[in-house]
Amino acid sequence: MTVYRFSVNTVPVQVNVPGMRRLLDVLREELALTGTKEGCGEGECGACTVLIDGRPVDSCLVPVCQVDGASVSTVEGLATAGLTADAPPVLDGLQAAFLQAGGAQCGICTPGMLMAARAYLDEGGGPDEDAIREAIAGNLCRCTGYTKIIEAIALAARAGG
């Protein structure tokens, strides 16, 4: 066991775990952030996509020892709290666009799709369909046929990211 320190959604965290524990398991089991989903567990499906220092990665393929000192972003960090204690959270533009375009069915791929799309928009990606398709090529969805997900990302891009 080793102590690793990094940030998750800008909050500093510290965990005491084996260095080869998957970032996915640390997020879900140690930090109780279960928004990140496990799909295939071998880097094929992208359901576990999170951002490390702004770049999308499959968290099932990242040992926590390589995250020490890094900045991790997960789907839980997208929405922000409302202005008052009883106000609903304010959705990220992408989340709102997924709702508007109907970009989710069963929802298992959605956190990964959102994070891959977030990285794409943060790097200045626009509403071009081919570019969006490439940005989410590492994220599999078995329900939607992708069209509505792509529409949602284009919608968010046109709304300014």
Binding site: R55, V57, D58
Partner: protein, 286 residues
């Protein structure tokens, strides 16, 4: 839950060499895109100990050194795609990097990992063979250089001794040397190759004979290979329809691929011959 072997996190190369010298069964990890899957135990015995190379900055960077481009073993596919030097001097490697996985894999997977993992389907490996790359290896005993053509002696084996690390990849840049790349898989992203091919030749224009032809393929044998008989069929000939027909025929006869989950031997032979035919046609401009 996957197994979690103990991990050493050396802070510099000397420390990494010392760990490997003391524990030759330890497996280095770079971006983890292959090794982390091995921890599930579904691909054979997981490693007893892991040596994390991710923080060894000595293994990063892309630079021009004399008449060669040199890439650190930890260079990721994303870094290759975004490198102005690679774009200018070795666009074929940029093209190959773009076909590997998708963004998540390209942000983590490394050129050195592709080489050391030694999969016969490794997508950069035919490029490295066709470009006549050489690999700089290091250990407590010092450094040595092994050409790509001698690096993969048998299925999933490399020329590395257990205590050695791949440090850098050196690719000669020869004026007028042309390189082409093509991967054929089930889909454009996230697929493992059915056939992957790279072709190199010294070019003198659409009517001039080709010199120094190197043709390399992956996913058609137990290691990445050069196709020597087909190279001989192309050497000294201009890229005419007759050359293309003849070379495609020789290649189809030279390859001995297998049927497996990704493709069949027959498809691989046919598609390899067609890809080569197209390369020659495009170079000849007919």
């Amino acid at each position: 839950m996957p197994v979690e072997p103990p991990v050493s996190s050396p802070r510099d190369l000397a420390e990494a060499y010392a760990v490997l010298a003391a524990t030759p069964t330890a497996r280095p990890i770079a971006g983890g895109t292959d090794l982390m899957v091995a921890l599930t135990g579904e691909l054979g015995e997981p490693p007893e100990r892991v040596v994390d190379l991710w923080r060894l900055d000595a293994l990063r960077g892309i630079a021009i050194d004399g008449d060669a481009i040199v890439l650190g073993a930890l260079t990721t596919y994303t870094e290759i795609r975004r490198s102005a030097l690679c774009g200018e001097h070795l666009p074929v490697l940029v093209e190959a990097a773009a076909t590997i996985g998708a963004a998540q894999i390209q942000n983590r997977g490394t050129l050195g990992g592709n080489i050391v993992n030694a999969s016969p389907a490794g997508d950069t490996l035919p490029v490295l063979l066709a470009a006549d790359a050489s690999f700089v290896l290091g250990s407590v005993r010092g450094e040595r250089i092994v050409p790509a053509s001698a690096f993969w002696p048998a299925y999933r084996q490399t020329a590395l001794t257990p205590d050695e690390l791949l440090l850098r990849v050196r690719i000669p840049l020869t004026a007028g040397y042309e390189l082409r790349f093509r991967k054929v898989g089930t889909r454009r992203a996230q697929s493992i190759s059915k056939v992957v091919m790279a072709l190199g030749w010294r070019d003198g224009g659409p009517a001039a004979p080709w010199r120094d032809v190197r043709l390399a393929l992956g996913s058609v044998a137990s290691t990445p290979i050069r196709a020597a008989r087909t190279e001989a069929a192309l050497e000294g000939r201009p890229p005419t329809p007759e050359t293309a027909d003849r070379a495609a025929e020789v290649l189809a006869a030279e390859l001995a691929p297998i049927d497996d989950v990704r493709s069949t031997a027959e498809y691989r032979r046919l598609v390899a011959a067609r890809v080569l035919h197209r390369f020659v046609r495009e170079a000849g401009g007919w």
